[in-house]
């Protein structure tokens, strides 16, 4: 009886897991189905790459350069992620390990900043970007996100748990500040750094409202916005739309699978 219960319970959980994966499976399989069979057949008569071919060749003529948009997204996302990591790892060192007057006040200010929801600032930030002459440029999508108070907070917390002795020892060996940051602090904060990169990457890649506001040329759009405009203008092209959605989804899922261990630890961290 007990055995039966265990089997039943696990079967139900596996079924639910598949139910949760279903939208992904449907998306993935449908993007390879011939157009006529997307809504009519569960198992298509044949698999085809037509929709992907369409996206990379035909879409250019419809003024929807998908390949370019993918590259734009990749460029914007990696630049922002790299910059957030670089600035956070350096500034957090001053906040966590250097002793001087006013440090606590600045850290409190970082916490204060995190209280405000992002949507409060988007319109004034838009005004700033326009005044700086950055409207409709790549910079508009990158510059406002070069530093993150959340990333700074996470790394400061992580640095604080590193014993001061390590730093003193490195100093005695004649290490410079940057050597200490990149050779001592960073390797000892690998987990936090993975979490910050993962969430920053996903947040920027998936950001929609902000690029929708600041970019109007199709050639400069990130994939999320280009896909949305394609959906509005050509909603009947279901196959290519789904192929585009697969391409938009893959990098996020990949980076999630690579960092899944850190991701799980990050969830435990977020409770503290």
């Amino acid at each position: 009886m007990k055995r039966f219960k265990t089997v039943l319970f696990h079967t139900i959980m596996l079924f639910l897991a598949f139910l949760w994966l279903y939208p992904y499976l449907w998306l993935f399989v449908s993007s390879f189905k011939p157009s006529a069979e997307i809504f009519t057949k569960v198992v298509p008569s044949r698999f085809t790459l037509d929709h992907y071919r369409f996206i990379f060749t035909m879409a250019e003529k419809m003024k929807r350069p998908f390949l370019r948009a993918f590259m734009n997204s990749l460029f914007i996302t990696t630049t922002v992620t790299f910059s957030v990591l670089l600035t956070s790892t350096i500034v957090a060192y001053a906040l966590a390990k250097l002793r001087f007057r006013g440090r606590g006040a600045v850290f409190n200010f970082v916490l204060f900043q995190m209280l405000f929801p992002g949507f409060m600032f988007i319109i004034p930030l838009f005004v700033l970007i326009r005044n700086m002459g950055l409207y409709n440029t790549y910079a508009a999508m990158i510059v406002p996100f070069l530093m993150s108070s959340w990333g700074l907070f996470m790394l400061t917390q992580s640095y604080r748990s590193i014993p001061q002795d390590y730093i003193e020892a490195a100093k005695i060996d004649g290490a410079s500040t940057f050597w200490i940051i990149f050779r001592v602090m960073v390797p000892l904060s690998k987990n936090t750094i993975s979490i910050v990169s993962l969430f920053t990457f996903i947040g920027v890649w998936d950001n929609f409202l902000w690029p929708l506001m600041v970019v109007k040329d199709y050639s400069k759009m990130p994939l999320s916005v280009l896909l949305a405009t394609f959906n509005h203008a050509y909603a009947a092209y279901v196959g290519p739309l789904l192929a585009g959605s697969v391409i938009q989804t893959i990098p996020m899922v990949l980076i999630f699978l690579v960092f899944r261990k850190q991701f799980l630890q990050g969830i435990a961290l977020s409770l503290k």
């Binding site: 696990h10 992904y24 001087f100 006013g102 929801p117 409060m120 700033l128 326009r130 959906n231 409770l271």
Partner: protein, 290 residues
């Protein structure tokens, strides 16, 4: 003494980097936010000061109240649904012996789905000819107008968002569950407490920090919904899926009224903030494992 001075110099040197950046990309917008909220401005010329007019206008704006009730309605659908489901998921995960990693990842992968892509997918899955309605028609003989019925549309969006967040919230609750020392359960068992009593008297109260986290996250999320209604319903039918962010966006960029939109943003943030305070006040308890 000299060493300390040098350390302070270095510290402020590094912090200057952060403070300058923040002054431009946080301080400047912050000041503009206050200016915009208190004036009338349409992207050109100088803002003309109008005092609290924008803020007062919000309270007689019937569309604002529509949006307000939409959001309350969404909270009513989304928060209980996602919370109960995530709690059940966490408890089930705690009981699982096999395939645990697979199930966890299956539920979590929805959390990393792209907003635009999953809106496109759900719009098709829930469509009149989509697989869900076909299944309903074949087995029960009816279909459901998921996104075209005014009352259902908001519920359908709540369903989508629940799909996305159950895994994430469930894992937060699960790690809250894991943090409870096992000895407490053994003691309860020795005292002859039933499973039901154990859960409501011991497990659930001790999970309080995780419960509060999930409730706050889901409330904040409800105030930040934009991509789903923008992509699928455009705020319709009958404005029933118009959210704060969507209303703000259309006010600023389609009705060209950024100053009113900024006032809306401030009021929205205040409502959001007070709701979070209420949740904390009502739900939050001091927990210790002594």
């Amino acid at each position: 003494m000299k060493l300390r001075r040098r350390e302070a110099g270095l510290g402020w040197g590094i912090l200057a980097l952060y403070l300058c950046y923040t002054a431009v990309f946080w301080g400047y917008p912050f000041v503009w936010m206050l200016i915009l909220a208190l004036s009338r401005w349409r992207f050109v010329g100088k803002p003309s000061f109008v005092g609290l007019q924008n803020i007062l206008r919000i309270f007689v704006d019937s569309m604002f109240w529509r949006v307000f009730w939409n959001t309350m309605n969404f909270l009513l659908y989304f928060v209980p649904m996602v919370f109960v489901a995530a709690l059940l998921f966490a408890l089930a995960l705690n009981k699982m012996k096999y395939f645990k990693t697979f199930v966890t990842l299956s539920f979590l992968v929805s959390y990393v789905s792209s907003g635009v892509a999953y809106s496109i997918v759900f719009q098709r899955i829930f469509s009149e000819i989509g697989p869900l309605n076909r299944f309903l028609y074949n087995t029960f003989g009816f279909t459901i107008p998921w996104f075209s019925d005014p009352q259902l549309a908001l519920f359908s969006i709540a369903l989508m968002v629940t799909w996305k967040f159950i895994g994430y919230y469930g894992l937060i609750l699960y790690s809250g569950l894991q943090a409870i020392p096992k000895t407490i359960f053994e003691a309860a068992q020795l005292d002859g407490a039933s499973r039901w009593t154990t859960f409501w008297r011991i497990t659930f109260p001790l999970m309080n920090p995780a419960v509060v986290t999930v409730l706050i996250l889901s409330v904040n999320l409800s105030f930040g919904i934009f991509t789903e209604p923008y992509m699928i319903t455009g705020g319709g039918p009958m404005n029933r899926t118009l959210t704060f962010l969507l209303y703000m966006y259309t006010t600023a960029f389609q009705r060209i009224n950024p100053s009113y939109a900024t006032a809306l943003a401030i009021v929205t943030a205040l409502i959001n903030f007070s709701l979070v305070l209420i949740v904390r006040k009502v739900v939050e308890r001091e927990v210790s494992f002594e």
